[in-house]
Symmetry: C2
Subunit: 244 residues, 2 copies
Amino acid sequence: MSSSSAAPRRGDGSDTAGARPPMREALVAAAFRLFLERGYEQTTVDDIVALAGVGRRSFFRYFPSKEDVVFPDHERCLADMKAFLDSSPEDADPVRRVCDAARLVVRLYAENPAFSVQRYDLTKKVPGLRAYELSVVWRYERALAQYLRGRLGGRRDGSMRADVIAAAVVAAHNNALRSWLRSKGQDDVGAAVDHALGYAQSTFGGLPVPPLPEGPEDVVVVVSRRGTPLWQVVREVETAFARD
Amino acid sequence: MSSSSAAPRRGDGSDTAGARPPMREALVAAAFRLFLERGYEQTTVDDIVALAGVGRRSFFRYFPSKEDVVFPDHERCLADMKAFLDSSPEDADPVRRVCDAARLVVRLYAENPAFSVQRYDLTKKVPGLRAYELSVVWRYERALAQYLRGRLGGRRDGSMRADVIAAAVVAAHNNALRSWLRSKGQDDVGAAVDHALGYAQSTFGGLPVPPLPEGPEDVVVVVSRRGTPLWQVVREVETAFARD
DNA sequence: TCTGATCACTGCACTGAGTGTCACCAACGT
DNA sequence: ACGTTGGTGACACTCAGTGCAGTGATCAGA
């Protein structure tokens, strides 16, 4: 009883606003309103399209599945990340580059903190959405790993190291992001993510922390038990100095 | 045409074999036979139960979803891993411990190479199964991260480092495992996984290489920049000693 | 202005996964 | 013999997702 009467859909340009909230936005808004009101699983697609005043078939034209409406902009963000990586200069530090790529996702979340927090609360509670989010994150990770593979593919264990570095960067990124989401968007995302990615970068890449304002990693302590083989101490010294 | 006539289901113990292929196994066998014959998505649950000669409702009693029948033993393996981690001695190297925990999964795959390879071919092709596998892997990773958090939770960035190390270990493990699966189970899984986990272990843990079972964390190197505040050096000394 | 094409949208019917409910039956203890 | 319990099958139902046909609007060109 709602589909035909509501939303008379006119093309005369009488819309006062930006003239481009084109049903996709309306569907996302309606979906989130219902999801937050009564929960994700208690909301059917029919409920959403009824509230949005559109036909049921239109929902699936904009979103391949009900889960997709919860992550409406990740497809674009993933494309941005791939473009960013593809445009990398040859001489760039690969680890630094993937960290910067990860920051694109942070930016997406930070653009709309309230929305991000609401979605976080949803994914925390609904197992199906958690699984979907995993597949989203996985695609980001794949993009990073693929780029890294191209950069250090020639080296020994290049493929494996690419996977490991990508996973570590994503894990560091996610840890900082989740912490921020738990703070309801109050904390400083940028700083937290920089710190976490700095750890990943110092573990795998060259320099430890980018700005190095008062760098705590500069302090490392030697605790060597008597009888430790000299080569082992030497190796540790080498790797420690290799950081700078 | 098959459900009523086949498998007359008797309880008289007349089965010659172990008397306990209890319908669950029959469902897995029937499912995989059909999945390999005509594909996962082309096989309905009705097809499976018809071939197995059981009622449709019974399928969902043993498997919460159609996807679960593809990963019939991961629930048990995950429980094994948690038990393994819970029983860890206090003085064990945490990174070494999570690597050993990851080897439990390898063992599960290696127990039945043909089955593992078939499943790998399925998950490679079907997006839904890939997503499901991600959620399975995620639960393993969570178990590892939770254990690590308990071990290095007190340290600086302990929570984040736990996530990063768990992700790196899982990535290294998966890389070796997938390589083995691509070889159709011909390569030496153990060696490949040992090598990959050795990389992860040398990156995060104390000792660089796996051979050298004797105390690795005993070697740490101090590199302190001039002018570093004393309290910072002291803190690092404390945390370094706190390991033992 | 008429016409044909295209596009976005809707309604409808259908498949298939997953669930709730109930009846059935075998095994078991009393 | 009895009631109980647990595994099972049959049935009906909800809901996600798809295929298809139809409709109205815009726009091209005759």
